[in-house]
């Protein structure tokens, strides 16, 4: 039996083998985790339990619980200055991942192109391909702190581009954008009449300035598919809950696919999310304060070790350079794992041009981070001696 050619040609590659190596090893200090180390706040968990006790175990509306969509619409209105019609412009999904898949399937005809910045989250380009589209890389550089700029976008732009992806704060770089910087990106999108799929799932984890949603900029709401979710802000990764907001026509198309493939997001998760929306702000603030301190610590420590690293403005990742050590990031990751039992993700997982970088997740306790830094130091001394 043959699997489809399209699927067979998708990565994972060498990275998968490395992941298996990490997962098979014991007593590893991990800086390789893409999820919060906090457990979901108790009030949210307690509400999920309560909903089960009350017998909330059935399907919900395809689009998601009306109350939850109303809560999100209210939050967007008061906290983000954005007005969405909760019934026609919003959809509750199984994580942002599902929403991302739905968008591409809803908008792309075979061969249509999507600008995808690199480095970026691993799923974007494969999802574009699975939907029959063609990803076009926008390569960002360490010198510019991996920012997507109008200049970079113009350089990458080619005939047949229909949409672009923007993820900020960004996994794996932590890069984010001020309102001013976003205005430049918005101008580019309007000039070429592009849809923008804006993945803002890390928006609450912004440390240096207030997060501006792309859709809130003048003239952008009608061309932005705004994706967000509960995983990162409320430490709810395992609940698998996200949402999409955008123009009614596209949301209706996404909902059509969603109802055939998923039916609806799990009701227990939706009930938990309602509690998070209503009473979660205090816990989010506490987590943000803690992440911010870890960010300061890890970036200062990495730079001291000679692993040049820009200050990430959000999320919980640092993306330092290993240039000058004379090895690829995959070899760096393997050696560090084997010698010092520290796990991290090699940069080439996030883009073809990123084999000089590694992704370090600081969603780990301070004690762990301190120990990991000591071990990386030991490894670096060995590595430099060898060279």
């Amino acid at each position: 039996m043959q699997v489809a050619k399209l699927v067979e040609e998708l990565p994972p590659s060498g990275i998968r083998a490395f992941f298996d190596l990490v997962l098979g090893m014991k007593d590893v200090i991990s800086l390789g985790v893409g999820e919060p180390d906090f457990v979901t706040p108790w009030n949210v968990r307690e509400h999920a339990i309560y909903s089960l006790e009350q017998g909330y175990t059935s399907y919900t509306s395809n689009k998601g619980l009306p109350e939850l969509r109303k809560d999100i619409a209210k939050f967007l209105k008061w906290r983000r200055g954005l007005e969405y019609d909760w019934d026609n412009e919003m959809l509750i999904t199984v994580g942002v991942s599902e929403a991302m898949d739905l968008v591409f399937r809803a908008i792309l005809n075979p061969g249509e192109k999507v600008l995808v910045h690199e480095p970026c989250f691993v799923a974007y380009a494969p999802l574009v391909k699975l939907a029959g589209g063609e990803p076009v890389a926008v390569i960002t550089t360490a010198e510019e702190h991996f920012k997507v700029t109008p200049r970079k976008l113009e350089q990458a732009y080619t005939k047949g581009v229909k949409a672009m992806i923007l993820n900020y704060p960004c996994n794996p770089t932590g890069t984010s954008y001020t309102r001013q910087e976003l205005l430049g990106i918005a101008r580019f999108a309007k000039k070429h009449d592009l849809l923008v799929i804006s993945d803002e799932v890390y928006d609450e984890l912004s440390y240096d300035f207030e997060h501006t949603p792309l859709a809130s900029l003048p003239g952008m709401k009608e061309r932005v598919i705004y994706l967000n979710g509960f995983s990162k802000a409320y430490a709810m990764t395992g609940f698998r809950l996200g949402w999409a907001a955008g123009p009614a026509k596209i949301l209706a198309a996404m909902t059509k696919i969603h109802q055939y493939t998923i039916m609806c997001a799990p009701i227990t998760s939706q009930m938990a999310a309602r509690e998070a929306m209503r009473n979660g702000a205090k816990d989010v603030q506490a987590m943000v304060r803690e992440y911010n301190r870890r960010r300061n610590f890890i970036v200062a420590s990495l730079n001291e070790l000679g692993l040049t690293c820009h200050m990430p403005q959000g999320a919980f990742y640092a993306f330092p350079s290993i240039k000058g050590l004379g090895i690829s990031s995959l070899d760096f990751a393997k050696e560090l794992l084997e010698r010092e039992k520290v796990a991290l993700v090699p940069g080439n997982a996030f883009g073809s041009q990123c084999s000089d970088h590694i992704r370090i997740s600081y969603a780990s306790s301070y004690d762990n981070l301190r120990e990991a830094v000591a071990r990386i130091k030991k490894y670096m001394e060995w590595r430099r001696g060898k060279k």
Partner: protein, 161 residues
């Protein structure tokens, strides 16, 4: 809470150098600020939270919450009699509370008898103490925000995108 204080409350052993790194400040400035907190009385003391039951030979240690109703005195109200009570070394904490009684004490002793002896001979016999009600602690679940024995947490996968 201020950054430095929040860090120290979580781990009083964190050095000023480490705090400086965590908060993006200079170590000298952190030291200065900590000194200010110490001198100003914001930081009262650095101490370890221990689980007394884990100390060898200490298994019999008992704690009791004692509700005390007292008759306030002219001019000094509750303060004078409270001081007479809280100065006993057996009294680990003492609070004036609203409600059906006045003082809430946390009292510690090596056995139930010691605590009972303290209540009967020292506390109840005091002139202004009208009534006491003693609750012996049976099990400690959580203290000062710390859960003593919690269920093991599900481990995250060591590597994910």
């Amino acid at each position: 809470m201020k950054d430095i204080l929040e860090i120290l409350v979580n781990d009083a052993r964190t050095t000023p150098e480490e705090i400086a790194k965590l908060t993006g400040q200079k170590a000298a400035d952190v030291k200065k600020q900590i000194k200010k907190y110490e001198d100003g009385g914001t930081i009262v003391q650095y101490k370890a939270i221990i689980n007394p039951e884990m100390i060898e030979g200490n298994q019999n240690l008992v704690r009791a919450l004692i509700e005390v109703s007292i008759t306030p005195q002219k001019d000094v109200g509750f303060d004078h009699i409270a001081a007479r009570i809280y100065n006993f070394s057996e009294v680990k904490s003492c609070y004036l509370v609203s409600g059906s009684y006045d003082l809430l004490l946390v009292v510690e002793g090596n056995s139930i008898q010691t605590v009972a002896e303290f209540v009967s001979s020292k506390l109840s016999s005091m002139e202004n103490v009208r009534q006491t009600s003693t609750h012996f602690l049976l099990k400690k679940y959580k203290e000062d925000g710390k859960v003593f024995k919690s269920a093991p947490r599900q481990k995250r996968l060591n590597i994910t995108y």
